[in-house]
């Protein structure tokens, strides 16, 4: 099986099948595609699967029926979106996976889809851990880990990356790890409770910034001092998180950029021009620390 070609033209009908719109990150991602549409000559069709992988497949189906030229797909989950990828390919539509990928055992870049554009969630977790290992000053790190939505791939991967990085390091111990559902409210509630049960905690690792902020609120409400007696590490790079770093409440946030529009445009043009695209178009994630938070604040979302 070979990849469907893409002819060079001024305007393309482009599908972007968003998986859900229930967090700022997703919303920024969608917006990035919409902002890119005009300058890249896209007639953009956006759908929203509302958090359902099956609906996302059905959305892709309706795009195929409408005869799109190109599909950008952030697959909600690794396996369930494979049918969508395969069917688009079978319909002669080049597919670019965005921000998450699919199970490589079943569908492969270069045959089933053109390329995966995105960062590496496992790596994000690992980088947060490495930064922590390097900078944490106490004798023993007692960690509460706030996981993302139970069962979602960023939650699983960020956990894997982080846990692997501290495995075998006696200095760190995870007291408790539970889901805060990627949300500020839930992150705060879980932290409030865990803090009561584990007053000796001195590190919080949150799978995203919203939960990290929730944890900060919980700590402050309990009279603790985030940044002084509890150190917090997080992922995403939202404006609130950068501000928290500047305020000294958050140690670090590893970037997980939602701004895929321009990269997608670029990659698509290269493909249409006949270039062979590398299987993984890596997004270089920055890391925001007290050193660079201020300068990046303006560009944050």
């Amino acid at each position: 099986q070979t990849l469907p070609p893409l002819e060079q033209k001024d305007s393309y009908t482009v599908g972007f099948a968003q998986s859900e719109s229930n967090n700022p990150w997703r919303i920024a991602e969608t917006k990035s595609f919409q902002d890119t549409a005009a300058q890249c000559g896209w007639n953009l069709i956006v759908t929203d699967a509302g958090g359902s992988a099956a609906k996302q497949v059905s959305d892709v189906d309706s795009m195929i029926a409408q005869g799109i030229d190109v599909l950008f797909l952030p697959p909600r989950e690794e396996d369930p979106l494979i049918p969508a990828v395969k069917r688009a390919a079978a319909a002669g539509i080049p597919v670019f996976l965005v921000d998450r990928s699919v199970n490589p055992d079943v569908a492969k870049a270069g045959t089933d889809y053109v390329a995966f554009l995105g960062s590496d969630f496992v790596d994000q977790g690992k980088r947060a851990a490495e930064y922590m290992i390097e900078h944490f000053e106490g004798d023993a790190g007692k960690i509460i880990e706030l996981e993302g939505t139970t069962g979602s791939s960023p939650a699983n991967d960020r956990k894997t990356g982080f846990d692997e990085a501290i495995a075998g390091n006696d200095k760190f111990e995870i007291l408790e790890s539970r889901s805060g559902d990627f949300s500020r409210d839930e992150g705060r509630r879980v932290m409030e409770t865990l803090l009561q049960a584990h007053p000796d905690v001195n590190i919080v690792y949150a799978h995203n910034d919203e939960m990290a902020i929730g944890a900060i609120q919980a700590l402050e409400a309990a009279g603790r001092k985030p940044g002084e007696d509890v150190w917090i590490y997080s992922i995403d790079g939202t404006r609130d998180a950068l501000q928290a770093i500047i305020d000294g409440k958050l140690e670090v946030t590893v970037e997980s950029s939602p701004f895929f529009g321009p990269l997608s445009c670029d990659t698509m043009k290269r493909y249409a021009a006949g270039e062979t695209i590398e299987p993984w178009v890596k997004v270089e994630d920055r890391i925001f620390t007290p050193e660079n938070a201020q300068e990046n604040l303006a560009g944050a979302y």
């Binding site: 229930n22 967090n23 139970t150 500020r184 409210d185 009561q196 609120q217």
Partner: protein, 338 residues
């Protein structure tokens, strides 16, 4: 047992001695629930680290207060034989509006007025949502679950449109006080929830509205024939429920210093219904045990707290919560065979 005698010894039209009022079935149910709650507290004292601290109380109160406030309104709606699925969406709408108001140019220019408007405005909009629900139910005879499903689906969409989907974060200490302030060591919103529970309980017990509410839920046709203003009662009930949900929305937003239209009040309808039903409300209507709702909400909250604080894994939490709901509802079941 004077009740026993009351059935005997009466001739034609005789009345006999007035027996002492009986302890109602509802009270027995409440006692059962209170006992369960107490048992859970004792279990925690034995098991959960640092349980006997004021902070533990504060945490639980702050987590349960919004649920209680919503569940109060839900109890009233359930008493009419209805249900309100839209509470979570209404929370989101109200919560999205507040920062828009005090954060607007006008709001920043007039902080005092802006703050007041940020309370009143969203509550009025929430009330309007209730009016919409209530009108569908009572004037058009739409089934409550479907009538309120409309706002359940589109209400959150409206909130997202209002905020363009963005998380709105803010710093406004006076507004945040609603969510983080404390009085006597307990979060302010806990006091608010308690006060509201008392008010609603008194309204149900002592007012004509409360009586009408129970009769409408108990037998709508009979109530209507007896001159009860059925439509008015229902509309007010949905209106009250939505307004309370709006208030809960404001509180959650104040608590987080952020309004996330996509998330606020998610699944709140189920929490509120569960609190009411565990507290003794019947989905078929005709009962409004406010104290029960309060206890029910506390019970569910404490169950959640217990599981999290003792490190029960997330997946297991689902299952344990399920088991506890079953047991709680079963224990207070009144329909067992005679």
């Amino acid at each position: 047992m004077s009740a026993q005698n009351s059935l005997t010894g009466r001739g034609l039209g005789g009345v006999g001695e007035a027996p002492a009022p009986r302890r109602s079935r509802l009270n027995r149910r409440l006692l059962g629930l209170a006992a369960a709650l107490l048992a859970l507290v004792l279990l925690n004292v034995a098991m959960t680290p640092n349980f006997l601290q004021l902070q533990t109380l504060a945490v639980n109160v702050s987590q349960v207060a919004p649920v209680v406030i919503v569940a109060l309104g839900m109890t009233l709606v359930i008493a009419t034989g209805g249900v309100d699925l839209s509470v979570g969406a209404v929370m989101a709408v109200a919560g999205a509006l507040a920062p828009l108001i005090f954060g607007s140019g006008w709001g920043v220019a007039n902080p005092g007025l802006g703050l007041a408007a940020a309370f009143v405005g969203p509550l009025l909009v929430a009330a309007a949502c209730g009016l919409f629900n209530g009108s569908l139910v009572s004037f058009l005879g739409v089934q409550p679950i479907i009538a309120t499903l409309i706002l359940f689906i589109s209400g959150r969409g409206v909130a997202l449109v209002l905020t363009n989907g963005n998380l709105q974060t803010f710093t406004n200490p006076s507004f945040t006080w609603l969510g983080t302030g404390r009085a006597l060591g307990i979060p302010v919103m806990g006091w608010i929830a308690l006060a509201l529970a008392l008010v609603v309980a008194v309204v149900v017990r002592k007012t004509i509205y409360g009586r009408y509410l129970l009769s409408v839920g108990g037998n709508e046709r009979a109530a209507s024939l007896a001159g009860t203003p059925v439509a008015t009662v229902k509309i007010w009930t949905y209106l009250i429920c939505s307004t309370l949900a709006g208030l809960a929305g404001l509180i959650v937003v104040a608590q987080n210093s952020a309004s996330d239209a996509a998330r606020i009040g998610n699944l709140m309808e189920l929490d509120a219904i569960a609190a009411a039903v565990v507290g003794g409300a019947a989905l078929s209507g005709g009962r409004a045990p406010i104290l029960g709702t309060l206890l029910g909400a506390l019970f569910i909250q404490l169950v959640g707290y217990t599981l999290v604080a003792n490190g029960v894994p997330d997946e297991a939490t689902f299952i344990v919560t399920a088991a506890i709901i079953v047991i709680a509802v079963w224990l207070q079941d009144s329909r067992r065979r005679t």
